[in-house]
């Protein structure tokens, strides 16, 4: 029995230029024609919105330039690299796969993402990882205020600093921060790092090609005081 090697499925890179081909055509190609293992280059995004949303196959998509809102939104399986900055909601509601932004990401990066990895080499804006539902986000720089607001599951790694109200109303998601948080949100607390935290961090950082020592991070998780309706927490409802 012969095993199909990855090489057998790789075809030559396809390229699109968004100044020549419309967004709708590019996205339809990515939805209907893209096959596993293919590589697609997209040039001149010029801040276009909704680029490469709803991909479903394990293919590689490289975007050369800055993108607008919702790049690689709801991604499944694909590996999308944005060589530039991303607008609001990059990889929002991602299910699986990997999205990599080499510049900075605007607000709501990885909002409500259920799975997969989002790697941001630069800073992320406010509400990074809001309503996170299982994905892992690694931010090489700092994140803005209200990051990981109501994050339910998954991990947010912040190599720089965080703004106000980090981890407000957290559920089961975990935050690792290397720098300082301006303030923690309601019900978020620093916790002791354990072996599994170091292991997790080591893995997440190497995936993002970052060489920080996992021991330089601190863990933030939910104090679980808001898990049940009670009078003492009323201000936080």
């Amino acid at each position: 029995m012969e095993r199909l090697t990855l090489d057998a499925t790789v075809s030559k890179p396809l390229s699109f230029d968004l100044r020549q081909t419309s967004l709708r055509q590019v996205n339809q190609f990515l939805h209907r024609e893209l096959t596993a293992g293919q590589t697609v280059q997209i040039a001149h995004p010029d801040g276009a919105h909704s680029l490469a949303v709803g991909l479903t196959v394990p293919a590689e998509v490289n975007v050369e330039g800055h993108v607008g809102y919702y790049a690689a939104g709801m991604n499944q399986q694909a590996r999308v690299t944005i060589r530039g900055n991303a607008g609001p909601g990059v990889a929002e509601n991602m299910m699986s796969g990997r999205v990599h932004v080499t510049g900075f990401a605007s607000v709501s990066a990885g909002a409500s993402a259920h799975g997969g990895r989002l790697i941001i080499d630069g800073d992320a804006g406010l509400r990074c990882g809001i309503s996170l539902k299982g994905a892992d986000i690694v931010v090489g720089g700092s994140v803005g205020s209200f990051s990981a607001f109501m994050a339910q599951a998954g991990r947010l790694v912040i190599c720089g600093d965080a703004g106000d109200a980090l981890g407000d109303s957290l559920y089961e998601a975990v935050i690792y921060i290397r720098g300082e948080a301006k303030s923690l949100g309601a019900d978020a607390q620093f916790e002791e790092m354990r072996d599994r935290d170091y292991e997790a961090l080591h893995e997440l950082l190497s995936e993002a090609d970052l060489t920080h020592d996992p021991r330089s991070f601190r863990r933030i998780a939910s104090a679980k005081q808001l898990y049940h309706w009670n009078a003492n927490a009323q201000q936080d409802y």
Partner: protein
Amino acid sequence: MCGIVGLLLKTPTLHASLGELMVPMLVGMGDRGPDSAGLAVFTEQLPIGELKYSLYSGRQVCDWAVLLATAQAELSDQATLQDNGNHAILTAQIAPDVFKPWLVQRYPQLHLLSAGRTLDLYKDTGGPAAVAQRYQFETLKGTHLVGHTRMATESAVTPAHAHPFTAGEDFCLVHNGSLSNPHAIRRKLEPQGIHFETDNDTEAACRFLEWRMSQGDDLKTALEKGFEELDGFYTFLMGTANQLALVRDAFACKPALVAETDDYVAIASEFRALAHLPDIDQAQLFEPAPEEIYVWNV
């Protein structure tokens, strides 16, 4: 809800291309604000004592030559006028407290858009491409500008409701977002003798900030008071005779992006409005942080 754009040219040789560089920025924000567009251009400063008044006649036709002759006869024989369809800029050594009552009495149908030594103001209904063409925005020259494309939320779509809003002299403001206490601000200012021309929420912010500055605050102090008093969501871009200033509220829900090179500072709600600018690939790009005041000087 809207698109905002701003451009400040650091290199004097570029001043002649201000309009040309800006038009694609404004047009690029058409999706965010399809119903009206406006622009404040800061040109060479007039000598002290002289002022420019941007006038707008709306749907009515105004015989600008007659207006000029009347103004020369009744106010100042040195007055000059430059007309552009239903817009005109009257320049003269006339103080606002003389000019405004005169205009109201003689030309009640005209709308005074702005007053100042450097500011020319245009605003009208329609998409930004149409408005830009109507007033030949691409030919405009100057040091810096503030532009806006409007998606009206609660108040009407009229030229008066379009941005930029002005107050006092050489001050204008555009806004993306919506204020949640504009009526309270208005009720606070009206008893101080401050007159409102529309029910637009942005006008409340504009008049509030100008009022603070007329009380002696500098722009930064006025904006800090604004953070306390103006509630709701906003990205504000403001222009003065020699500055552009940008702020976002604490939640920073409404987008803004700044691109800076040795030649210019460009501001827009989204990157796609900046993608055409020269050397944008080399520009330093950043998003303004919430409740931080960014000021660029000419």
